[in-house]
């Protein structure tokens, strides 16, 4: 399994003045669930695309430092070589449909056909991906006739079928209704339990807090902090960085109830309950 190593990563989009990423360095271990938070324009999406080689190979622009996936330096390989190691899912499920396939089943096959897999292997992987994302019953539907949540799960299935070790999710639920979001989060959690490295950008802080092993806080292209959700959400300057902590943390903070052992505010329902127990009514 591949470890991710980012060293002094800098990037500027073509025809722009400011750096979108400004000297970011960190490591991610195989199998971790990483949440990335920060206000709009803080560099979250840019960082996501830097893992896949889209930055700089698709966008061009100006680039410094490096991103290493295992032994591979992202800068030196084409996007299509890397896509078997790193998969990415975007926020708009609609624009991720290739538009060249008439059924969900064929749509998932698109990437596998490009990789030149045998028919037998394709069928095995597609059946497996449909199963994992719980969309087997839609296999013969037209991709454009699915609901948003179903479409997004198909997009994830299309990526999963390519067997990546790392999956990047860039605000996968921001255009979905609550039910669709929940379906997607459940699917992502299952993938994480299978040992795939997950990197997710998400505005729903409760979800980030509940799923992430570590959370990265970005602001203006710089990495402010990268630590456990409890540590990150207990920071006093979160609002200055444009992030509203989870409701449970805000309650804990408002009532001044910290976890006795760690001295951190609660971030999930369970932790909030523990912190509040013992409070005199």
């Amino acid at each position: 399994m591949a470890r991710i190593e980012v060293n002094h990563l800098k990037y500027r989009y073509p025809h722009t003045e400011n750096l979108a990423l400004d000297g970011v360095s960190f490591q991610i271990e195989p199998g971790e669930f990483i949440g990335i938070i920060g206000k709009n324009g803080s560099g979250k999406s840019t960082l996501c695309q830097a893992f896949t080689g889209l930055i700089p190979n698709f966008y061009r622009g100006a680039y410094g430092g490096n991103v290493k996936i295992g032994e591979i330096n992202v800068r030196d390989v084409e996007v299509d070589e890397l896509c078997q190691k790193v998969g990415i899912v975007f926020q708009n499920p609609f624009n991720q449909i290739t538009g060249s396939k008439l059924t969900v089943y064929d749509e998932i096959a698109f990437g596998l056909e490009n990789l030149g897999l045998s028919r037998k292997e394709m069928i095995r992987r597609i059946d497996d991906a449909l199963e994992q994302l719980d969309i087997t019953r839609f296999r013969d539907r037209n991709p454009f006739d699915l609901s948003g949540g179903q479409m997004q799960r198909m997009a994830i299935a299309s990526i999963i079928a390519m067997n990546p070790e790392i999956i990047i999710l860039d605000e996968p639920t921001s255009q979905l209704d609550p039910q669709g979001s929940e379906e997607v989060f459940k699917a992502v959690q299952r993938l994480s339990q299978k040992g795939i490295t997950i990197i997710m950008v998400e505005h729903k802080m409760e979800k980030i807090a509940a799923y992430s092993d570590r959370v990265m806080l970005l602001d203006e292209g710089k990495m402010i902090d990268f630590d456990t959700p409890q540590k990150i959400f207990s920071r006093d300057d979160l609002l200055e960085h444009g992030v509203l902590p989870p409701a449970f943390t805000r309650i804990g903070r408002g009532l001044d109830r910290k976890n006795a052992a760690t001295g951190e505010y609660p971030v999930t329902l369970k932790e909030a309950k523990e912190a509040l127990e013992g409070m005199a009514v």
């Binding site: 996007v79 060249s100 056909e113 006739d145």
Partner: protein, 258 residues
């Protein structure tokens, strides 16, 4: 979702025939009468195409296609019948308008030719899934990237039509006039088309990325999920069609030499 493709799954004999076979039929049906250079050859092939369309249960679908060209052909008959240089023999006098035999025969030739080509194309496109045709080409060495372009158009245009309906409704509800003088209508054109143009250009970025991360530019040889089966029947039909084309080439050469 509404499809713009003229193809219809009817489970007919021609549906099951290999796409390569039907493409060859189209080429042969256009080439053979052109090479023989005789109106009756055109008529014969037209009858054959009509027969094929009828057994595929898609003959009715040819009516709109033919009527589009039918209007053009009607103007040709009128204009050539009345004005063609070399018109001498009057066959029909309608008030001041005189129709001449030479011009009418000339336009009949055009009509037969056009209908023959149209019907031959119809045999192919009414009975063959566009993606089958493109995949067939890709297997023979056509660029898979351009192949993608062809297939995706059939899905993208209906998508854009939906966007267009939304926009037209929105602009109408804002009181935009789509009727009135020419100037008013020209002014209405830009606000209608600009938003779709911009949004579809922005979409190209996301779609290009979505394709790239799924190995669109991979250098390995592409494989296909759906197997293409070329049966013995397909092979025999192909041979017969090639023989027909070769025979008519031979006929043409013999005419030239003799």
């Amino acid at each position: 979702m509404k499809s713009i493709s003229l193809y219809e799954e009817k489970n007919s004999t021609l549906n099951h025939l290999d796409s390569g076979c039907k493409m060859l039929y189209m080429v042969a049906a256009i080439l053979v009468p052109a090479l023989i250079g005789n109106k009756w050859a055109n008529v014969a092939v037209i009858i054959l195409s009509v027969f094929l369309l009828a057994i595929s249960k898609v003959l009715r679908k040819t009516v709109p296609v033919l009527s589009v060209s039918g209007i053009v052909i009607l103007t040709i008959v009128i204009i050539q019948g009345m004005f063609r240089a070399g018109n001498t023999t009057v066959v029909l006098q309608l008030g001041p308008a005189a129709f001449y035999k030479e011009g009418l025969l000339y336009s009949l030739g055009i009509a037969l030719n056009v209908f023959n080509i149209l019907l031959a194309i119809c045999v192919l496109i009414f009975t063959t899934k566009p993606s089958d045709m493109v995949e067939n080409f890709i297997e023979k060495g056509f660029s898979p990237r351009l192949g993608y372009v062809f297939i995706s158009i059939f899905q993208i245009i209906p998508q854009m039509m939906e966007t267009m309906n939304t926009i037209t409704d929105a602009q109408r509800s804002r009181g935009m006039e789509t009727e009135g003088s020419l100037l008013v209508r020209i002014k209405a054109f830009l606000p209608l088309i600009s938003p779709v143009v911009m949004s579809s250009l922005v979409d190209t970025k996301e779609r290009a990325i979505a394709l790239e991360v799924r190995g669109f530019n991979a250098k390995t040889k592409k494989t296909f999920l759906n197997e293409r089966k070329v049966t013995t029947t397909d092979k025999i039909i192909n041979l017969l069609l090639i023989a027909a084309v070769l025979a008519s080439v031979a006929w043409r050469v013999k005419l030239w030499l003799g």
